[in-house]
Symmetry: C2
Subunit: 330 residues, 2 copies
């Protein structure tokens, strides 16, 4: 397995160290317990803290900075951070206005963030928003519900911007929970992923196969199908997402995300199809995002995310952000 990796155990801390060295003005690495936090916290702002297993970069560490996350905790590959990582990050990030935890809906993450919240609650006001934007685990009778995937970025951006504007903890919790039914994602993989620690591929695909409905932890999707072509695949993703979402208005954000090994040209090609599909269905695509933002190591694949936002939420999307991986505005 050829990867730009050295000692497997150093992968996560070294990648985080690289991120911190590349953006010293924005963020600080705390090596033990491992988390990344904002260089200059905004006093009086509710702290927005996220995290999860590594292997999804730039999610979440790449979104620490001004206007988005105040801290992100990083577990081993595809493994939740520990409660002590999370409580330390809360301790660091909370400047007195409380702390909002943004957690992807996976058993390990939910459990560990819950434990951390309980431990920290004696000294901090804490609320939690669970993100479950994936369409594929819904309706299958899976008691765990929808997984959190690429749509997590949208939740983190909007909540981070709202916190920066001075929204209270209760208001942020309300905003985050309200977003849930209006963000949906679906992914497809052309390859499985090889997990560095095991040197084993989580699922193997033949030269003419693809896996529909994958998450970002290397788990298989809901069906293995014959590989077709970009247009057919992206139309299917777009249609499924479109049919699953709670449509509140005509205006949406459309997001095509690369899963790690898919180059920008293919993502723009996919965006072309997804955009045309949505417009044909009468949607107005008000904003878009195309790139590699929430990965599953070096998986060749992509996901389509659709989000219906209010004018106020679009204004939060547009507001300035300066992080390692997302940056615009002043």
């Amino acid at each position: 397995m050829k990867k730009f990796i050295g000692f497997v155990d150093d992968l996560v801390p070294d990648a985080c160290a690289g991120l911190a060295m590349a953006h010293p003005e924005l963020l600080v690495l705390n090596p033990a317990p491992l988390y990344v936090h904002r260089r200059q916290p905004k006093q009086g702002r509710v702290a927005v803290v996220s995290g999860g297993g590594s292997g999804h970069e730039p999610l979440h560490v790449g979104y620490v900075g001004s206007g988005m996350l105040d801290a992100a905790c990083v577990g081993h590959i595809f493994t939740s951070p520990t409660p002590s990582q999370i409580t330390s990050a809360i301790e660091e990030a909370d400047t007195g206005a409380g702390c909002l935890l943004v957690v992807k809906n996976y058993d390990g993450d939910v459990m560990n963030f819950e434990m951390a919240a309980e431990i920290a609650s004696s000294r901090h006001k804490i609320e939690t928003v669970i993100v479950g934007d994936d369409i594929e685990t819904a309706g299958t009778g899976d008691r765990r519900g929808r997984r959190g995937v690429a749509g997590t970025l949208i939740v983190e951006k909007l909540l981070g911007a709202a916190a920066e504007r001075g929204m209270t903890l209760a208001e942020l919790k309300n905003l985050g929970d309200g977003l849930a039914p209006r963000i949906r994602s679906m992914g497809v993989a052309l390859t499985g992923v090889a997990v560095p620690h095991t040197q084993r591929t989580t699922f193997a695909l033949g030269p003419s196969e693809m896996e529909m409905g994958v998450g970002i932890h290397g788990e298989p999707g809901h069906s293995r199908e014959p590989f077709s072509d970009a247009d057919t695949i992206v139309r299917h993703l777009s249609e499924t997402v479109f049919n699953d979402i709670a449509r509140t208005a005509g205006k949406a954000l459309l997001f095509v995300n690369g899963l790690g090994g898919t180059p920008p040209a293919e993502l723009y090609l996919a965006y072309n199809t997804a955009h045309r599909f949505m417009v044909n269905y009468g949607l107005r695509i008000e904003r878009s995002l195309v790139g590699t933002y929430a990965t599953s190591l070096d998986m060749q694949g992509l996901s389509v995310t659709l989000a219906f936002l209010s004018d106020e939420e679009f204004s939060l999307w547009d507001s300035p952000v300066a992080t390692g991986a997302l940056r615009w505005g002043c």
Copy 2:
């Protein structure tokens, strides 16, 4: 060959269409002849126009917008745009202050941009800056000289920012030529690339091989070596680049670029090594860039670019830019 591609001949125009649809406020697609231009040209500003074969996205189309390129011409995969594409783009972009062409040093690109400049020169003031930042074709007796690779982004950013500030055509030409000896890049590939039109891989690597000194057109590098580990590989790239560059001062920009199929975590890991190496050699890394900015389709690989810039040039680097793939500031 599983890729998110439909009809091969539609790949390039469809990817450009996707880019334009994702960023309608920034740029406009001209479908025939194919080029992308800035939505709102700044009157009186020298137009900065670039281009080249496709398969390198987001280079160059992703850098059209305010503060960088005014237009980019897109050829077929790994193939220069035609003179008529280039003259049309010049016609569109020049608002009267002249046009600066930024051209990567490849025979086809240099020839076609030269022809276009000659054709357009009766109606436009034109200067050309040739970018050749690759270290590997130098010193090998190759008469064609250094290839233009990831460092092209730095040249385009600085020249675009300088044009936005009102620099004249002659001043821009002078700035661009002066950058040449102070930007160096070197790349490594873990896989060859499969060119969609031929369905053939340009070079094949065994499971324990890597190709050192690759460019971005799928051409082989200067030596095939046994794959080692990230630290050893990136140290070698860093050292070679460091030894080849004209060092003018202690302050540098360090850029780790993914070649298309390498995920962000591996790029940050590589940045960690490159940064430590440069600091150990006494350099002050003033700015950094880590990401997938100049690709060779979906090649698994990366390059390290080092650039020594003056304070004035760092200020140009920092100045606002709003394009599809590079965006910061107001």
